[in-house]
């Protein structure tokens, strides 16, 4: 595994040369375009979701071997519940199959998996159980951390943090950004450095709102089922060429690491 990392690392060049920055620590993907991919082929929407599976595994592997430490995937938003019931049922079954199919592989790759959100009672209990099992299984891994946002909403997380903050009785003057962030779900998640949204849409869609504050945004025209490792690496290169200032004149570096 280490050898492979070295090889891949040199191939995509995370080397910290003068004037170029390294690999983003935290990459977040909005997986968009499954429906359109299917429509262009006159297939039912569900086949677009099915085709997305390959991309997900490809991107996870590409991110891991490129040295990305945190990868977040936006799988299902709180708004997605408004989709037709049959499509939701299909998605739930598909996700369950994908999780179970790839669990041993993810674990063997040393990837720590966890699921952000997953609060809605409409999530079938067996699926929630599989999420919990995969989290348990991989909790001790020290490789890349894969956060799958499922039934996630960025605003909802912020509201939940505010609630928890008020409940803990912190006086208003004592609240600062760092203290607030500690109340978000998975408070150890660092700021997102790079957001990739596929299919040419240019929105953030309520995704990890707090963490994307300073993220670079890259909108790839490729539809998610067609998106592959080379596209992903291309996005990393684009990121590396950009200059990040965080509103000031700080040199290029990744976003803040959380305690």
């Amino acid at each position: 595994m280490t050898l492979e990392e070295v090889v891949d690392g040199s191939a995509c060049g995370p080397a910290r040369e003068e004037g170029r920055r390294g690999v983003p620590r935290h990459v977040a993907c909005v997986m968009d375009g499954n429906g359109r991919w299917a429509a262009r082929r006159s297939l039912p929407r569900t086949s677009g979701h099915r085709a997305a599976e390959t991309t997900v595994i490809d991107v996870i592997e590409a991110a891991r071997s490129a040295g990305v430490e945190w990868l977040s995937l936006y799988a299902f938003s709180t708004e997605n519940w408004q989709r037709p019931g049959a499509e939701i049922d299909f998605l739930m079954r598909l996700v369950r199959r994908v999780v179970r199919k790839h669990a041993p592989l993810l674990h063997a790759r040393g990837i720590r998996c966890r699921f952000l959100g997953v609060t809605d009672p409409r999530i079938p209990p067996p699926l929630a159980r599989d999420f919990a099992d995969l989290t348990t299984l991989t909790a001790g891994n020290r490789g890349m951390t894969l956060t799958v946002a499922f039934d996630h909403g960025g605003r909802r997380d912020i509201v939940a943090a505010a609630r928890s903050l008020i409940r803990s009785g912190v006086p208003a003057e004592a609240v600062d950004e760092r203290c607030f962030a500690a109340h978000l779900p998975f408070p150890d998640t660092p700021d997102v450095d790079l957001v990739i949204r596929t299919s040419g849409e240019q929105r953030i869609s309520n995704f990890m709102l707090w963490q994307v504050a300073y993220a670079e945004l890259i909108f790839s025209p490729v539809l998610w089922p067609d998106f592959r490792a080379p596209h992903f690496l291309e996005c990393l290169h684009t990121y590396q060429r950009r200059e990040r200032r965080f509103g000031g004149v700080r040199p290029n570096e990744n976003g803040e690491r959380r305690p």
Partner: protein, 485 residues
């Protein structure tokens, strides 16, 4: 009964010295053979029709045996300790607890946990089982040691009842009394059958071993029947005869070997086997903040991971048509682990009383706080009964409960939460501080988030209690409190 009149008062007041540090009673306390003796004594108690009925109706020992055992040991320690004030307080608490237990058995015969003759029998079985334990173990007690021990047990009864009139004054007179009760009063009760044949076969794992269900089940399948056989073989011959208990070949030898073997543990270094330490350890939840839990937690985590992997790689069964079964199973589980404390398949007043008893015990409540808590639970019971008992049989079945889950958080339950807050908030400053929290939950504050203030305000407390009690949320502090075995 053996009314011996107001006999020598020095026995009753002599309790203080009798339970001194060097007393025989305390010597037995850390003897591993005592575990077997206690089981035997409990069977003999349960065979008494009044006690058997009270146990069957009110006791939580089938579903929560470890909690029950720990409470009993704590109580015995307080009763036998050197602190007289603590003893008086414990005796008062036990009396209050028992005064709430009365009713009628299946054959409509009344029972009452305050009946002095019944209480005398409980002490008698403990004494006789201690003597028998030494006999079975091959080291019978000398006559004067037996007399000394008997004096101590009478002292125990006197501390509870105010006098020990219902136990014969001397050992000499004790044996005829004991044999008469065995021959004439004991019956083959349901409670006894449960202890002998169900308890050890279904004994839930103690909290410490929760993460290792397979290991526990394997050990239990081996040890459970042996404990049953050993206990049966150690019961008095005439009673075994009458109750039609099986005579297994070799059981008596097995029984004596068990006592002998357990007795050998006395050669272990001092302090290795202290009942309190062992029980504390067993009651320890692997999630607790205790350093001793760490190595076990590591083992349990590994097992959990293995379990997760096995579940994930097991091929999926054909997709069942899913309705609202998920929610319903959750409700059923909550019913079985939390509400039905006595494990009889129904929620009835004894179940809620058992919760009140556990909470009052943890918080070491005195009057009038204890009665307030019981009253709040009684009101909640009436509310539950009105809302859920649709077939009008006076109790709530699992089906009645699961069909009506949403209507559970009524005003009476909110009242329970508020009263519980009041009695937990010992210093009355309207927040639960770290010490008060530890008294209730036996664990430190564990707010995952970095709050600056270590206190639990009323609103949050009431809300958390309600969401746990209405079965909506699993809760880390309440689950060990009310659901653990």
């Amino acid at each position: 009964m053996t009314e011996t009149g107001a006999d020598e008062p020095q026995h009753t007041t002599g309790a203080d010295q009798l339970f001194g540090l060097g007393s025989r009673f305390r010597g037995f306390f850390n003897d591993p053979r005592w575990a077997l003796a206690i089981i035997r004594a409990t069977v003999l108690e349960a065979a008494h029709p009044q006690i058997g009925a009270a146990l069957a109706d009110n006791s939580t020992f089938v579903t929560h045996p470890w909690r029950r055992l720990r409470n009993t040991v704590t109580s015995l320690q307080r009763m036998s300790g050197a602190d007289e004030e603590a003893r008086r307080k414990e005796a008062a608490r036990l009396n209050r607890l028992h005064s709430r237990i009365s009713g009628t058995d299946a054959r409509d015969r009344p029972y009452d946990a305050m009946d002095p003759a019944v209480r005398a029998w409980v002490v008698a079985t403990l004494f006789e089982s201690s003597v028998a334990m030494c006999r079975f173990g091959g080291q019978p007690l000398e006559q004067d040691a037996i007399e000394e021990l008997y004096g101590e047990f009478r002292g125990y009864l006197a501390a509870l009842d105010g006098d020990a009139r219902h136990l014969p004054p001397t050992v000499h007179e004790f044996w005829p009394y004991y044999e008469r009760v065995v021959a004439e009063e004991l019956e083959h009760t349901e409670a006894m059958r449960i202890i002998l044949y169900r308890l050890f076969d279904h004994l839930p794992a103690p909290p410490l071993l929760h993460g290792l269900p397979t290991l526990w089940a394997a050990g239990r399948a081996l040890v459970g029947p042996v404990i049953g056989a050993v206990t049966v073989a150690s019961l008095p011959e005439p009673f075994r005869h009458r109750a039609g208990l099986p005579e297994l070949p070799g059981a008596r030898t097995l029984m004596q070997s068990a006592y002998l073997g357990a007795g050998l543990a006395r050669f272990l270094p001092e302090g290795w086997l202290r009942t309190e330490t062992v029980l504390d350890l067993l009651a320890l939840s692997p999630d607790s903040d205790d350093p001793r839990a760490r190595s076990l937690r590591a083992l349990r985590d590994r097992m959990r991971r293995a379990g997760a992997l096995v579940r994930l790689i097991t091929p999926l069964p054909p997709e069942p048509e899913h309705g609202d079964t998920g929610l319903r199973r959750g409700a059923e589980e909550f019913f079985a682990t939390v509400l039905d404390q006595t494990g009889d398949g129904y929620v009835d007043w004894p179940d809620l009383a058992a919760m009140a008893r556990e909470l009052a015990g943890r918080l070491d409540l005195d009057e009038p706080a204890e009665t307030r808590l019981y009253d709040a639970f009684a009101d909640w019971w009436r509310e539950l009964q009105t809302a859920l008992d649709t077939d009008g049989d006076g109790r709530v079945s699992c089906r009645e409960y699961t069909e009506a889950v949403p209507s559970l958080a009524g005003p009476a339950l909110i009242r329970v939460a508020e009263v519980l807050f009041d009695v937990t908030d010992a210093n009355g400053d309207q927040r639960i501080d770290a010490a008060e929290y530890r008294a209730l939950f036996r664990r430190g504050f564990h707010r995952d988030l970095t709050g600056t203030d270590d206190a639990y305000p009323r609103g949050a407390f009431v809300r958390d209690f309600l969401s746990f009690m209405s079965g909506r949320a699993r809760s880390t502090p309440y689950d060990p409190l009310l659901a653990d075995a």
